[in-house]
């Protein structure tokens, strides 16, 4: 009887560390993958038990704060760069530069590792990255008299194609990524700085910045992109594209899955091309990180588990599940990413892999980010709705920023 009990594990000692692991919206599509990951880790580390909780993206920060406040926060949490930096500003996250040994840090692309660096500390271990690509509707290209085999390769050509499509078909050509604070990215994609080199002064009110904003405001006034672009962002763009009411979509390749599910007809007409780069020849690289709250009771084990989730083999396996890209150099070098298949996702994968070299996360890291972002967002909206000229709007936002930087 005793032998049976012992062999059944009923008398085994409880795990030394219970790690709660929060992810963003990975259920139900990736449930099997994450469960397999956890099972393998627990087999290799019998004294560690992992509890996985999947949280919707809109609520993860609120839930995380509530959990930390209640003393029941996770040990490892998946956040995007903006979320990581916001929580880091509140002194909620472990400094990964300090917690991760240099040899392990060296596995990651240095530019991606630096995404969450603020004040000399990096607050997240990079997980997967999703560079944007250009998806476009070949049928609408044909109706507009454009050659579907020659999609726009630059921001200039992109705007030109969008103008032609709207004029000739009545369907919107594009929804530029200008909602919220994403105009900061447009500036950077055009090679324009947001901050002075000492990062103590905002500089986005130069003549060049004003010119870029003026151009988009003029496009808006000419009704060349939908009026809800400033409110709806990429979700609105994806919905419109899936409904056949938008000719071009600049998006993370994973959103093509939504188009495939929602609108098989539009998906059949979809082709994928590299993201049309601005004059700065730099591409934004939205990054997902794993952070460890300072309140974690098992900080060492949590960091170890986060390193395991983001190691070469596991990232590569995840990239086989969906069109995302690894943040580690060895995984990204796998031939899988350069094999171009026939489907839009396969093409997107090959294209995006080629873009990784020119990409970096363009999130602007500033103190008092909520106040600064709010001022910038308001300034851009004031310019678009004609309540300020672009020059006045950017001057005002720069003044607000400089008062707080």
């Amino acid at each position: 009887m005793l032998v049976l009990l012992l062999s059944s594990g009923a008398w085994a000692s409880p795990p030394r560390a219970r790690i709660e692991f929060w992810t963003i919206s990975l259920q139900p599509f990736f449930t099997g993958y994450i469960q397999g990951l956890i099972a393998a880790y627990e087999r290799a580390h019998p004294d560690v038990q992992i509890r996985w909780i999947d949280v919707p993206p809109q609520t993860i920060e609120q839930k995380l704060l509530a959990a930390i406040a209640g003393g029941v926060g996770p040990e490892v949490v998946n956040l995007n760069t903006e979320g990581t930096l916001r929580l880091a500003e509140a002194r909620a996250l472990v400094d990964m530069d300090d917690a991760v040994p240099p040899a392990a840090r060296a596995r990651y692309f240095p530019n991606i590792w630096s995404s969450t660096r603020n004040g000399g500390k990096a607050y997240g271990i990079p997980w997967y990255v999703v560079p944007n690509v250009l998806a476009y509707n070949r049928e609408l290209f044909r109706r507009a008299g454009l050659d579907p085999a020659r999609p726009p390769a630059s921001e200039e050509a992109f705007i030109q194609a969008a103008t032609t499509i709207k004029q000739r078909t009545g369907v919107y050509g594009f929804m530029p990524n200008i909602d919220g604070i994403r105009f900061l990215r447009i500036f950077q994609e055009d090679g324009l700085s947001i901050l002075a080199p000492d990062r103590r002064r905002a500089v986005f009110n130069s003549a060049a910045h004003v010119q870029v904003l003026t151009r988009y405001v003029a496009l808006f006034k000419r009704d060349l992109f939908p009026t809800d672009t400033l409110q709806r962002g990429y979700l609105g763009a994806t919905e419109r594209y899936a409904a056949g009411q938008l000719a071009m979509l600049t998006t993370g390749p994973q959103f093509l899955l939504r188009v495939r599910t929602d609108s098989p007809d539009v998906y059949r007409d979809t082709a994928v091309a590299p993201y049309p780069l601005g004059r700065g020849r730099v591409l934004d690289l939205p990054t997902m990180e794993l952070g460890v709250p300072l309140a974690s009771r098992h900080r060492r084990e949590a960091v170890e588990f986060a390193l395991y989730v983001t190691d070469d083999a596991n990232q590569l396996a995840f990239c086989h599940q969906v069109v995302v890209f690894p943040s580690t150099r060895a995984a990204a070098a796998d031939p899988y990413f350069t094999r171009a298949g026939q489907s839009p996702e396969d093409r997107a994968r090959a294209i995006a892999a080629g873009e990784l070299g020119t990409a970096r996360d363009l999130t602007v890291v500033v103190p008092h980010s909520d106040e600064l972002y709010r001022a910038f967002r308001e300034a851009v909206e004031q310019a678009f709705y004609g309540r300020m000229t672009p020059q006045q709007a950017l001057d005002w936002a720069v003044k607000e920023w400089n008062a707080r930087l």
């Binding site: 609120q62 809800d228 909206e381 309540r387």
Partner: protein, 284 residues
């Protein structure tokens, strides 16, 4: 003692979910607190900051504008209640149909109305087809229109709820009063104005107060349909509180905003009671 025992379950619930949060929230308004670090006492600094905060004034202004929905909503609900307060074949179904939006999730309602309000949505389609508009109206993307478009959704969703309150009020009025007035020669409009509405005043007081409180606390419609935009045109007090608490992690400041909103709401409720306290069956 037995009476207190019966009261105990409700008191426990009220203490846990109402009194404690009210006391905690009021105390929190005197602190700087971001959930992560321990709270720091700042006295009335949060309230001083509110006075100079332009976003607060924008949000308060929008919330006050939102109150315009109250008289329109009450007027429509009274008319609707008068219409369905009769025996007719299928009237039960009609009442249920008007009540349906009340029990529908506000998120679903918000998404559906967002589609309806779209440039290529049903409303613009109809207006353009009938020649009532030259181009699509940007219902949710135009700063001058968005707040009123969201208010209409509140009106549409709340109509059934207030209709039920007025129906109950109408059921309680004995038909003899209206009959006597009719014998005395009062027309339908006079009977409504001089008999029904004065007797309905307690219901009007209740419904107007409830809807005014709801209007000041509007959040979900804004969150789902406009996120406070465009250019803060639909940025209401509750949305600002949410933004400060969960976007900026300024929990103490958000609590101070909550205290200010509570004071405004209490003031408004007192005003409603003062204005509408006379009336009802017991008054006459």
């Amino acid at each position: 003692m037995t009476a207190y025992l019966f009261l105990l379950p409700a008191l426990v619930l009220l203490a846990t979910f109402t009194f404690y949060p009210v006391i905690f929230g009021t105390a929190l308004s005197l602190f700087e607190y971001n959930v992560i670090s321990p709270p720091r006492f700042v006295g009335v600094a949060n309230f001083r900051q509110i006075a100079a905060d332009r976003y607060f004034w924008i949000a308060l202004g929008n919330s006050v504008k939102y109150l315009a929905v109250v008289p329109v909503l009450q007027g429509c609900a009274i008319l609707l209640a008068l219409w369905v307060h009769r025996s007719a074949r299928g009237i039960g179904w009609l009442r249920a149909a008007y009540y349906l939006p009340v029990v529908t999730s506000i998120v679903v309602v918000g998404i559906v109305w967002r589609w309806l309000y779209d440039d290529a949505g049903l409303i613009n389609f109809v207006l353009l087809r009938l020649g009532l508009a030259r181009g699509p109206i940007h219902w949710l993307a135009s700063p001058g229109v968005a707040l009123y478009a969201v208010m209409f959704v509140t009106l549409w969703k709340g109509l059934g709820y207030y209709m039920v309150i007025y129906l109950v009020g109408l059921e309680a009025i004995p038909p003899g009063y209206a009959e006597a007035a009719a014998i005395d020669g009062a027309g339908a409009l006079q009977r409504l104005w001089r008999v029904t509405l004065p007797l309905l005043r307690p219901s009007i007081l209740l419904a107007a107060t409830l809807s005014a409180i709801s209007a000041l606390r509007v959040f979900e419609e804004v969150y789902v349909m406009t996120s406070g935009g465009p250019v803060y045109a639909t940025y209401t007090m509750f949305y600002y509180m949410f933004d400060q608490a969960f976007g900026a992690l300024h929990m103490g400041y958000a609590a101070a905003l909550g205290v200010v909103l509570a004071v405004v709401t209490i003031g408004l409720s007192i005003a409603s009671f003062r204005l509408l306290r006379e009336g009802g069956l017991s008054y006459y």
